[in-house]
């Protein structure tokens, strides 16, 4: 039983770590604010619960476990809200997403614009 829990915990931590770094790289490399918000928001909101679950699996049943659960719920609730609020603020402030105009329709796909 404990071996399964340890493997599960290790897996969660590994996935969480990978997602975290991916989000960070996305923050730096994406060309535009909105894509950055998307990159970091989505990956962080998944990475945080994964990391916290990986941590919780390694602790025993105690008050600390309840606190980890509370942190998890809190991050899950506030991170998407903050991302949404930031994106909405940027939109309101005049930022527009970077759009690539495809003038030539590609072969084999129906182009939406002539």
């Amino acid at each position: 039983m404990t071996a399964i829990i340890e493997i599960l915990s290790g897996l969660c931590l590994f996935l969480g770590g990978v997602l975290c770094v991916t989000g960070g790289v996305g923050l730096l490399r994406m060309p535009d604010f909105f894509s950055r918000v998307h990159a970091s928001g989505v990956t962080e909101t998944l990475a945080a619960p994964l990391l916290l679950i990986g941590l919780a699996l390694q602790m025993e049943w105690s008050l600390d476990l309840v606190k980890v659960a509370m942190i998890l719920i809190l991050v899950l609730a506030t991170n998407p809200t903050a991302t949404h609020a930031m994106a909405k603020a940027a939109l309101h402030g005049g930022q527009r997403p970077l759009v690539f105009d495809n003038d030539k329709p590609t072969r084999g796909e129906g182009a939406s614009k002539p």
Partner: protein, 94 residues
Amino acid sequence: MLTAAIVAILVTMLLALIRTFLGPTEYDRMLGANSFGTKTVLFIALAGHVLQWNSYLDVALLYALLNFVGTIAVMRFFEYRNALEERDDPESAA
């Protein structure tokens, strides 16, 4: 595996910090600071467990809340000042 996760979080914190320094617009800085805060919460939770800090979960919980409040404060004070000014003189509202 825990230490590997902690190192990953530290790397991400550094990346978010670079974005906060660079960010051409202030929205990028806001985003970087918010990301840094969320990563710090995770860092305190994980590192506290490994290093056996005292009451580390309380501090993590606190900072998760405060990160959110800080981001909302930035929005309120910078992005929406125009709304109040428009309400003052309706003629000048676009």
